[in-house]
Amino acid sequence: MSVTATSANLSAEAAPESAIKTMTIMRALNEGLRRAMAESDRVVLMGEDIGKLGGVFRITEGLQAEFGERRVLDTPLAESGIVGTAIGMAMVGFRPVCEIQFDGFVFPAFDQITAQLAKMTNRHEGALSMPVVIRIPYGGHIGAIEHHQESPEAYFTHTPGLRVVSPSTPNDAYWMIQDAINSNDPVIFLEPKGRYWIKGEVNTAERAVPLHASRVVRQGTDVTLVGHGAIVAMLLQAAELAATEGTSIEVVDVRSLSPVDFDPIVASVQKTGRMVYAQEAPGFTSVGSEISATVTERAFYSLEAPVLRVSGWDVPFPPAKIEGAYLPDVDRILEAVDRSLAY
């Protein structure tokens, strides 16, 4: 990307009449990062191949050319190194945004994220904050080989001290990445890579909801479908199909996996009396498990059926040729809806 094109984008952003733009999630993340970097020179991007190449998914395309090699670091190939040094940089006031190339490559950094980063503020008794964002493209549907399609969110939601979020639309991607960067706590920022290329409207003038809000994205009266990340689009599709058969489905996009904004979910279930959680990750001790349990506690007297879950099976993410049999699809979601309605 040329410098001229980039400055054109910046000046366009200043013009209020062009506040609504249509773009992909990929582009929205790029624009969100650009804006956060322009607003604060403490924001530094770190990762493998994110500079010259712009990242393997091109999320950081053009940013090194625009902000320089000290703002966008093509790091050595070492995930633990990326996160560990980000912690040190945060200690002297930087706001590092780390890119992990694929979900399955985050684990070399697991100690630095869960045992170090997550606990720094606590161990320093509040004397230190850790404004570190770790961006991780996650999830399936891209037909890639091993370690490239996983959903590791539960490891991080299980770790006190980490905030965990996942946008599902371009508008959320644009705002949530900026809000994550502005957070003084570490944020695991999970990007639904299977949806990087979908387009949607982004309002660059005004954020819709705060970072940690969950949100009803479709109104309905019979069953509440809840999920996060890439699967939200599938829930909407399922709702569409169910409507043709006379079932009215409400869909809630959780958006923030830790903390979870339970009120809109509970309110929805109090209205419909039924809930199905859907996620790509294996079901056992997962985000879906936790949200289902809490909703059962809070909406117990409203429930007409047990809260049901649809998830990846409790097996390693399979070879790409058979991922379709592993990942939840519209049929499996509607099967759960039918089961719920049958109670």
Binding site: K52, P108, A144, I145, D314, P319, I322, Y326
Partner: protein
Amino acid sequence: MTEPQLVRVLSADGTFAPTPAAERYLPLIDALGDAELEQFYRDMVMVRAFDQEATNLQRQGQMALWPPSLGQEAAQVGSARAARTQDHVFPSYREHVVCSIRGVDPVNIIRLMRGNTHGGWDPFDPANGNTHLYTLVLGAQVLHATGLAMGLAFDGRSGTGNVDRDEAVIVYFGDGASSQGDVHESMVFAASYNAPEVFFLQNNQWAISVPVATQTKVPFYRRGDGYGIPGVQIDGNDVLASFATTRAALDSARVGEGPQFIEAVTYRMGAHTTSDDPTKYRARDEEQKWRGRDPIARFRTYLAGRGASDAFFTGVDEEAKAYAADTRTRTLALQAPGAELMFDHVYSEPHPRIDEQRAWRDQYEATFDVAGSEAGANE
């Protein structure tokens, strides 16, 4: 970043011109007969044809991706041919010819890259020459190799002084992976336990888009010093240097002299994988410069100078063509695995949750039209 003590036997134009550091390895090269030298050449030409065919197959949608080995044939063939039958091999994910030399059917690598399997072969089947699986998380296999080498030492399977019986391990990794903590920890463990292991680093200059200068400020082979592991730097495009240094290193390691480190300076002439476009980050003239150091052209000139006939070269080319064609035929004939495969081998003994989910899914699938079952549909 090449050093005065670089081991090179054949110069880029194919002249037999050993560097001073290569002198001590010459007896190992002198001992090679025509048949062995011709085999090195055949290996390199065959894998280049295979690799090109696999790259084409990926472009035609037959694989999720393909990591080409183009340009790295000499480093891989020389080192693989240097390993003895009883040795153990840990590839990274680009060592296609290392696998085939050890006996692995390379179509299994295609099955892996196609998304049919996460593994592809059984390292414990004698037909596969103790070749372990590809590892996609960079550097992780280096620790496994070290542990296996420690086990060999603890069990007395190495260190007796008998080079025909003592076992050793060779592990492949790259300049990018060298930055991973796992690789450094491997060297600490290997040195501490005097593991019979050769660290074989192919420095192909690029970790996707990141140049080698970002990974190290000193030549890699000197890193060994810091861990107490003797290191040597070789011209990785010289198959003879690769063979001789690896044979010497493995034999030192196997008889109890401890781990050894080889840095093979080479070049990834293709993309990192078919998902990547090298023109975005590196200069054409750099690629051109390395094309002038092509490992196969160099060795061909050398063999021709030794009297190899035109018929030999033509024969190898024909063989390679047939090999590529066979690879294509067998790839196109590959069947997708059944979806039920994903419930297999998650644990070594029955597990109630897996059994329950498998049964649930079977029942669920039975509610659909049987004709639309997944095996055929997904292929």
